[in-house]
């Protein structure tokens, strides 16, 4: 785990900002992917094509956001990667080994939360973890109690560890599922909708946990339909729709590739009419004025220096409260890529 290459991308905290462009120096060698799918296809017996020739590469050390509407094939992809489902064609390698052949060697190094937690309601939280730990043939039974205790501690469930799991709230179940994924140090963590059912405080804690794990060198593969969540923690992302991969890359690249990548100019001012006039003179188009705010599209070529533009406004007597480009969100990028609302099923 310690020998993993340094994370190849910019800081997680600022993926959407200009400074977060990929650092070309630390690009891992080809093949050194935590998860790699080539032509991965799954057709269920009913004939339904769930995943269609998927090529996906999750670099080691990345926090990889896996996006897509419900029914887009995300979970089927994850199940194939975890050896639960056999691909119809194509391959998927996890930590360098093809699945499902490599399950015994690979999966002890992988923690997974798939389609929500599943627990034995009649067992206590602690006994649930003991059971999942006992299922791993490479786990030393002598240190089981310590592992279970540490995992409970990590997700903040120590106080509720003795309670029967059926009495747990959804958030507690989610935490216990995460604890099972964290029973041992993992090289890859696959988290399918990890913040489902959590309150805002719980979601924050999960994000902090993901950042901590990533800082330790764990590759995190995070599926979510919450764009905000992906944008906050991920370095890379891929978008699926109707079983196909639409796009993959760093979060900064994705935001940059969207049509509206250059954010609109936004001026907050009590003098919108004057502001519109001055901006128009400087070539800003598509101006929209509100009570105290003006936005517009900067010209693609020969764009004026923003500082000059601001000076021109102030020079003309426009009182400027705020001035700058609007930040492009991943959601803007997503809508630009797919041309559809996010939660529309494929």
């Amino acid at each position: 785990m310690e020998e993993l290459p340094a994370r190849s991308e910019g800081p997680v905290s600022a993926p959407g900002e200009p400074g977060a462009a990929p650092a070309p120096a630390a690009v891992p060698p080809p093949g050194d992917a935590a998860l790699e799918a080539r032509g991965l296809t799954k057709r269920y017996r009913g004939g339904q094509l769930a995943v269609d020739r998927l090529d996906l590469r999750v670099p080691r050390g990345s926090v990889f956001g896996f996006l897509g509407p419900n029914g887009s094939g995300k979970t089927t992809t994850i199940r194939m990667a975890m050896g639960l489902i056999e691909p119809t064609s194509g391959t998927v390698e996890v930590l360098g080994e093809p699945m499902p052949r490599g399950v015994r060697r690979v999966l002890p190094r992988v923690g997974a939360l798939i389609e929500g937690p599943a627990l034995y309601g009649f067992l206590s939280g602690r006994d649930n973890l003991v059971r999942f730990d006992a299922a791993d043939p490479t786990a030393d039974p002598r240190t089981r109690a310590a592992r279970v205790g540490a995992a409970l501690d990590r997700v903040g469930l120590v106080a509720a560890a003795g309670k029967k799991a059926r009495a747990y709230s959804l958030g507690m179940k989610q935490r216990l599922g995460l604890a099972a994924a964290l029973l041992r140090p993992r090289e890859l963590l696959v988290l399918d909708e990890p913040t489902n059912g959590l309150d805002p405080q719980g979601m924050r804690e999960i994000r902090t946990l993901v950042r901590e794990l990533a800082a330790d060198g764990t590759t995190v593969f995070l599926s979510s339909h919450l764009l905000d969540e992906i944008e906050q923690v991920c370095t890379h992302a891929a978008v699926m729709a109707q079983g196909r991969l639409l796009v993959q890359g760093t979060v900064a690249e994705l935001a940059g590739r969207a049509a509206s990548a250059r954010g609109r100019l936004a001026v907050t001012t009590p003098d919108p009419a004057d502001a519109v006039r001055i901006l128009k003179e400087h070539g800003v188009t598509d101006l929209v004025a509100a009570v105290d705010r003006v936005t517009g599209e900067l010209p693609g070529r020969d764009a004026p220096d923003l500082a000059d533009l601001n000076a021109a406004l102030v020079g003309a007597g426009v009182r400027v409260r705020a001035f700058g480009r609007e930040r492009v969100s991943l959601e803007d990028a997503f809508v630009a890529l797919t041309g559809e609302g996010f939660d529309v099923a494929g």
Binding site: P100, R104, R105, Y120, F122, F132, R142
Partner: protein, 295 residues
């Protein structure tokens, strides 16, 4: 997956380190079965059968009458008043056709399908438990339940028999009288034969359990197969298939109570149970190791 299971040997370092770890799953599996409220309820019902039979016999014979009115009711019923040990045999004879195999069908049918229904199966598999290893653990826990269920009936019957009726030397079916100590040993052997009789339905239930993601459906199917087999076994016209029905030789356990023990049917029973275990165990393995786990 079957291809995968054979090729993928565990890493050598991990193989040597902890010999105990191999048993962890089996302990966990057996513990999980016996900590379910449902399992305890089944065992409770089984324990109640000898109590009911014992009390009924005691009440009926309280005024000096005889039981059964001419040999009706389960085997050995008429001997219970003379010797409480016979309550063990009569209780096993009463529960073997339906109660015992139904309980086994519930546990076996739910074994994998129940885990699939609750979703815990996918977490066991990504642990990674190993599909063959999990199947072996499920088979083991089901067989342990067969033994436990039989012993619950036997022990409960012995306790009730000792409380309500006299104990002493026992007259076997062949007319020979043996000591109470040997009678107890024979009772133990009978319980063993009954437990082995349940191996066939245990394997059958495990196979059914690999076919569905619904625990209830698997239990119902297994119990349905039991009833069907019992019905088919009643019709003289279907004589040709009867020797291949898993319940066909079940009542052969009575042959343990002969001097010398009459082995023919007992061995036929064990062979048939072994055949069912082999056929349906293999079928379960073939199905489970290649199955797409979508639950």
């Amino acid at each position: 997956m079957s291809r995968a299971e054979r090729q993928a040997a565990p890493a050598p370092a991990a193989r040597e380190a902890y010999p105990l770890r191999r048993l962890s799953l089996f302990r966990s599996e057996i513990g999980t079965v016996f900590r379910r409220w449902r399992t305890l309820a089944l065992l409770g019902v089984l324990a109640a059968v000898p109590v009911l039979v014992g009390i009924a016999v005691k009440v009926e014979t309280g005024d000096g009458g005889t039981v059964g009115h001419g040999g009706e009711g389960p085997a050995f019923l008429s001997q219970v008043t003379n010797n409480g040990l016979f309550l063990v045999f009569t209780s096993l004879a009463a529960t073997l056709p339906f109660f015992l195999p139904m309980a086994v069908g519930v546990v076996a049918g739910d074994s994998l399908a129940g885990e699939a229904a609750s979703g815990t199966l996918r977490y066991l598999l990504v642990a990674p438990v190993g599909r063959t290893r999990l199947l072996l653990a499920k088979l083991t826990s089901t067989l342990v339940f067969c033994l436990a269920a039989t012993m619950v009936v036997a022990v409960s019957a012995l306790a009730v028999g000792a409380l309500l009726f006299p104990l002493g030397d026992i007259t076997l079916l062949s007319g020979t009288t043996v000591s109470f100590g040997e009678g107890l040993l024979r009772a133990l052997a009978v319980a063993g034969a009954v437990a082995l009789s349940l191996a066939g339905i245990a394997a059958l239930g495990l196979f059914v359990s690999t076919l569905t993601n619904s625990g209830i459906a698997a239990m119902a199917t297994t119990v349905g197969l039991l009833i069907t087999a019992q019905i088919v076994d009643q019709f003289p016209q279907l004589e040709a298939v009867q020797p291949y029905l898993f319940p066909h030789y079940w009542l052969s356990f009575a042959d343990v109570l002969r001097q010398p023990v009459y082995w023919d049917q007992l061995l036929d029973n064990f062979r048939l149970q072994a055949l069912y275990a082999a056929v349906f165990g293999s079928a379960a393995w073939a199905r489970f190791t290649t199955k797409d786990v979508t639950a």
